[in-house]
Symmetry: C2
Subunit: 226 residues, 2 copies
């Protein structure tokens, strides 16, 4: 199709800018997570609980992506002053240059951790490296147990899978063993953390993961070609 | 940005193919709905309930779009033999040529209604006219009441909004008055149908809408430029 060369060029430029982000984060000693999930899967609620749990332990910055509104940043600013909202103006994903603009508004050298909350979309964000050190794919029990099979790209790219809203399990037809079987079918040893930002169940494992990831190495993915 | 001319060309070609779909559907006397919503918002569950309710009343065909798997078609085939699954192979939306391929596998002249279940995505599908007569934007209470504000394009393009999973309202922090206020802020007189495919509540209004829409006119949108 005629668009492929142009798309390839856009992705190549993005990769170069992502590499620059990765270098800037490494220089500042900031580990970085790219959180991806469907609209309404609970990303912002999880970040509210996360910022609250990490208060006094880690200095956390957030770059929040959305098509429109500053609602996510408004929710998160109650927990950390280091929040930047990126409005993509219709675009379905964050790109590296937008994250850099967000980073430029944050005191990087003061931060331990940068969390990028991507645009609510299980598909497009995965094609764009942002300079992160780890990628987290978030699903929720209300979406149904078949979503990993329907969205293989985000599973193949993830360093961790979060299964959110487990407090709602009694009320929805969600079979966690089927959900895990779909994941295991695609990836060996991909960690899955079931949790609820509402009840707090499972949250400590997520906080431990965030505190520790990349601690044994430089904390930064070197080969993130996808 | 360098990609704009190519994207414009792709959209123009899509519009021409959509016009051909619209003509083929009109010739066959088939009304057509394009159902759009986030991953796991309940599109397939709603279609299962819809096909069951319309059995013996309307002959319904379905073109189901997904990135991967034939799971939706497998669920729907229990209710109608006229189901085609389109696997987009990674693409985040259905395009008109794919819907035409799906239509070519269905006995159009026998059908009263064609329902297109778009790829689970609140963003990208809205840019692609498929030849439908009406567009339905589906949200669910588990996604939170702010989703219309965060996804204005799908609201602006919709002929009807469905609010699904209302059986879960007691368990989630969803305020329907805020949800409706966001919609009213963008559109006057946009119909909203709250329903639950699980409990059946609100389903009859949706069935009536499907049975009646476009009945007074040709049933086909003429100017669907977006």
């Amino acid at each position: 199709m005629a668009e492929i060369p142009v798309v390839a060029k856009v992705l190549k430029l993005n990769d170069e800018l992502a590499a620059m982000n990765r270098l800037a984060l490494a220089d500042a000693g900031v580990r970085c997570v790219n959180l991806m999930g469907a609209p309404g899967c609970g990303k912002t609620a999880l970040l509210e609980a996360t910022l609250s749990a990490l208060a006094g332990k880690l200095m956390v910055g957030v770059v929040a992506g959305d098509i429109a509104t500053t609602r996510d940043a408004e929710r998160l600013i109650a927990h950390t002053p280091h929040v930047t909202q990126i409005n993509t103006g219709g675009s379905c994903h964050l790109e590296a240059h937008q994250v850099r603009q967000g980073m430029d508004h944050l005191p990087l050298t003061d931060l331990d951790l940068l969390i990028i909350e991507n645009v609510g979309n299980l598909i497009c964000p995965v094609s764009f490296d942002l300079g992160e050190g780890a990628r987290v794919a978030m699903f929720s029990v209300t979406e149904g147990h078949d979503k990993p099979a329907k969205h293989p790209s985000v599973v193949l790219a993830a360093d961790l899978v979060i299964l959110g809203k487990i407090d709602l399990k009694p009320y929805v037809p969600f079979d966690e063993s089927i959900f895990r079987a779909y994941l295991a079918n695609m990836r060996d040893n991909l960690a899955v953390l079931p949790l609820s930002a509402t009840s707090g169940e499972g949250l400590s494992a997520w906080i431990s993961w965030l505190t520790d990831f990349g601690a044994g190495s430089s904390g930064f993915r070197v080969n993130l070609s996808i």
